[in-house]
Structure formats: C-alpha cells, structure tokens
C-alpha cells in the first residue's frame, strides 16, 4: 500500500514548531496528574542577548541554549481516512485508510544538557510549587 504524505496547510504556510529538550523527566505531583491542562511546568527566561536560556521548574533551575538542529524535522500527523467508499473497498485492511499530514517543521530546539541546580532562595514567585524536575 501507499500512504501519501500531504501538507494540507500548504508548503509556504507550514508553521514552525519548537522543542524544549531536557535530561530526565518532569514529574507531576500525584494530585495534579489528572488535571494537567494549562498547568505550568516552569518559566523559560532569556537573560541576555545571547541565545542562552534558563528554565526554572519548581525549586530547580536548568541552564541551556538554543541550538539549530543538524537536520530539520517535520511533524507528521496520522489521519484516519474517512472516505466511505474506500473503507468499504478495503475493509479487510484497517491500516489502508491512513494519511500523513505534515502539520509543522522544526529547525531549533532549546536544549538543557546539564543537571538542574537547586535554587537556595526558594521558588520564584511566578512558579507554582507543584512540579519537581528529577535529574536523569
């Protein structure tokens, strides 16, 4: 079978997405695990004109920088084909009604390679105390 890779937003208008990458995992406190929507993870700051960044998560602060990806990435979205005729035709093969849509591309990420430092003075006022960053 053949899956056409589409770009329904159009090549010119295909939007750029972003990545924040850090070591290890961010753990959500159990009481919030089922209400993640709009929950703040942390605050990303660009302290100077350089492409250096800090990411403050709970009591932890990460330092990192913006890097251009060696190779670009595209974000593909699998879409179930809804055409009725075709579904009947190929009812035996459920995977035959899939399309891939390019919904974005990525050229940069903000990378935090180091383990976090602990903020001695406690959390910044804007950061909620609900999340802990666990080093890898």
């Amino acid at each position: 079978m053949q899956i056409q890779v589409k770009c329904s937003c159009g090549a010119e208008k295909c939007p750029e997405w972003a990545i924040i990458e850090l070591q290890g995992v961010v753990e959500v406190q159990p009481s919030f695990q089922h209400s993640l929507q709009n929950l703040q993870i942390g605050l990303l700051c660009r302290p100077s004109s350089q492409e250096n960044y800090t990411f403050t998560v709970g009591y932890h602060e990460l330092t990192g920088y913006k890097v251009a990806l060696k190779k670009p990435m595209v974000v593909l979205k699998k879409i179930k084909y809804m055409d009725v005729e075709r579904q009947i035709d190929e009812a035996t093969s459920s995977s035959s009604c899939v399309e891939l849509d390019v919904v974005g591309f990525i050229r940069h990420k903000i990378l935090f390679k180091t383990r976090p430092t602990t903020l001695i003075s406690g959390p910044q006022p804007t950061v909620k105390e609900k999340i802990n960053a666990e080093g890898a």
Binding site: Q2, G24, N38, L44, P72, M73, V75, K78, S95, I106
Partner: protein, 386 residues
C-alpha cells in the same frame, strides 16, 4: 519588542522569538497527551521541500517495514528513541487560545504550551530499492504465446506495483526495464523467454528473406511483416526494444532500429545452456551456428551470463545470469559462494558490479562479505565466503 505583527504571545512563535531579558511560561497544553498520531521525522535539508510539496510517499505492505520514497530514491524509516524529555510545542494556531485565553490574560505572561513529550523521532536511511519482489510477482504469470488460453492469474498495473514494491517511481521504472517487462493492456508483464525466442528467430528469418540489414531495420516493415506472421504489434515493438535500440528517425517518417549484437548473442547462449552445462567445444559450435552472419560473437560478450570451469582436461560452460540473482548483497554473495567456493576477481566482478548499496563502496562490500586470500605475492587474489 513585540511590534512585529506576526509575533504573538503564545505558542512556538513566542519561544522561537523570545527577546532578551524576557520570559515565557511553559505549560501543559489543554490537549496535552500521548498523541501517538503525532510523529517527528528527521530528514535531510534537501528532502524538506519534497516533503512539504507533497512529493513523497510511504510504501510497504502491513508486514513490511515502511520505506519513504521520493521520485528517485528509497529510504528506510527507523525509530530512534531518546531518554531525554522532548517537549513538543505547536504554534499558537494549533492551541486553543480561546479556551484558556482568559486565564492567561490575567497572568499577563507569554505562554507556550506543550502538546506532548516525544519519545524519539523517525530517521531516514537511504537504501537500495527492494526490487526482488518485483521480479518474483511478475514472474508468477509470464506472458506467453498461448496467452489467450491461459487462465488470468494476478496481473499488476503500475498503481498495483507501487502499492506492492518498495521502490521509488524512478527505481521501479528502471527495475521494469532491467527485467525487460512491458506494459500490455495496462498490465506490466515479463514475456516468457521461449516466446521472445520465437519472435526474435522470426525477425532474423525475415531479415534474411527480405534482405533487411540488422543495423538498420525499418520499423514499419518489421512490424507489418511480423504482424502478418501473427505476432501482436506490441510484442514486435517489445522485441525490438529488448534486442535492439532505436537509431534515428528516417526522413520519410518511420523509425529505424539496430539489433544489439551482445544482447542477441547472450539470448542464444542462454538458449543453448537452458538444458544444462555443456563442454566448451560443443557449446561454441551450437552457439555460433545460431548467430546471424552479420554479427561478430565473442565469448567475452557472455560476461555475467555464463561460468566456465575446468573438469579434468575439459572446460565446461554453464549458465549463471547475473539478472537471475538476488539484488541484496547478503543473498547475492551467499548464492555465488554456493555456486563456487572460490572466485577470481575477473570472474566475480561481473556478478557484483550491479550491487547497489547506498553508502557502501564495492571495496567495502567485498570486505564485508568475502575473505580475500593471495597464495603468493604475484598470484591473483582469490575470494571465498567469510
């Protein structure tokens, strides 16, 4: 700082255009989740426009690993996992700013929302097209002289082939050409070699009867004479294509063809050896007798088609056509070393020169699949299985 009209205080844009001494709140997207339907694909810069302009497809059966095909190349698709947390942040358009707008507005802080944590990404590795399957499916149902009376088995149109064979369009076309396949009534077929033999012999026979020159066959005459002998027009053209090439357009209109001596000679050598190996003398005698007078056969033409071996004082010839061998290096070498445990370079080279492995030179292939030995310093190197 925020004058640019396109800049917005939400989503990936704010992250990518974050101004010095400012900050952005990173939060979970209202639709945060595993989103298995969102996949990251890393690719070469040169492929990006092919992907964005919808010039690539994924090909493969459900039981095969998918490959990605551009117009001319084939890539295998591999998943590469990461233990880092990769927060994927879509542009604001994709986020539901309306639902959460009020709350964010109160915060008066730019926000960017994480839609998922990507477990890794897909990578592309250029690979050789998987054309062995093309040969095997087309060989199941050869086009033969009694075509009308044979029950129709599976036949394949171009669209069926691209659904079944993991190769780019260009590679598939080249593969069809290499197999001497022909499109008949919309279906791609390999014509039975025995039927091709009948047509070729009839063409040569007619060239003698009508004083045609084999290096300037007038298309219209050839086609009309062979059609009157009962061969389908399409097959006559196919015969000209397989054993010859178009030379020029004649002033009056019709095309002119030249038969290729090597291809004709190879055809008859295969015919002689179809029943099994022959002593060199008897092979040469029969082979030379079949070849049209105008052609100058030489044994060198059979490179990559026949093997010679000394048994006692006698030299024997047998058929081993490179086109009958698998195209993947491991299988190719395995069969070659079953045929013969030790190979000299001059014998081996015709059987591996067509192997196409992106990123691997023929030297690297030899290193990987053969053991090279040299009995003495001035002796020819010998290759055996690893």
């Amino acid at each position: 700082m925020m004058e640019q009209p396109h800049s917005c205080c939400k989503g990936a844009e704010v992250l990518l255009n974050l101004q010095p001494t400012s900050s952005v709140s990173i939060q979970y997207h209202p639709f945060f989740g595993s989103h298995d339907d969102l996949v990251l694909l890393e690719l070469d810069e040169k492929l990006l426009s092919d992907v964005l302009y919808q010039r690539v497809t994924l090909r493969g059966q459900p039981d095969e690993d998918a490959v990605l095909c551009t117009k001319s190349k084939t890539y295998s698709v591999k998943f590469v996992g990461t233990s880092n947390s990769v927060f994927l942040i879509p542009p604001a358009d994709c986020s539901t700013s309306h639902e959460s707008g009020g709350e964010n507005y109160k915060q008066q802080v730019a926000t960017a929302s994480v839609i998922k944590v990507a477990p890794g990404n897909m990578e592309l590795v250029e690979v050789a097209p998987r054309l062995d399957k093309l040969k095997s499916i087309l060989s199941e149902n050869l086009y033969s002289s009694d075509e009308a009376s044979t029950a129709m088995g599976d036949l394949y149109k171009w669209d069926d082939l691209i659904n079944k064979v993991q190769a780019s369009d260009d590679e598939l076309k080249a593969g069809l050409q290499a197999l001497s396949a022909v499109e008949i009534d919309g279906y791609w077929r390999i014509v039975d070699e025995k039927y091709m033999d009948v047509i070729l012999r009839m063409l040569l026979h007619n060239s003698v009867l009508n004083d045609w020159l084999l290096d300037s066959l007038v298309e219209d005459k050839v086609v009309s004479v062979l059609e009157s002998d009962g061969f389908p027009r399409k097959l006559v053209y196919h015969c000209l294509n397989v054993y010859g090439s178009s030379v020029e357009e004649e002033a009056m209109g019709g095309g002119v063809w030249r038969l290729d001596a090597r291809r004709v000679c190879v055809h008859f050598a295969r015919g002689v050896l179809r029943e099994g190996k022959r002593k060199m003398e008897s092979f040469m005698e029969e082979w030379l007798r079949m070849i049209p007078e105008e052609m100058q056969p030489s044994f060198d033409m059979l490179e990559g088609e026949v093997l010679t071996e000394k048994i006692g004082v006698e030299t024997w010839v047998r058929a081993l056509s490179v086109s009958s061998l698998p195209t993947t290096p491991a299988e190719r070498f395995s069969i070659l070393f079953k045929e013969r445990a030790k190979w000299e370079w001059k014998d081996l080279e015709p059987y591996i020169r067509d192997l196409n492995v992106p990123g691997l030179s023929s030297e690297a292939l030899l290193l990987k699949y053969t053991r090279r030995s040299q009995p003495s310093i001035d002796a020819e190197p010998v290759f055996s299985a690893r």
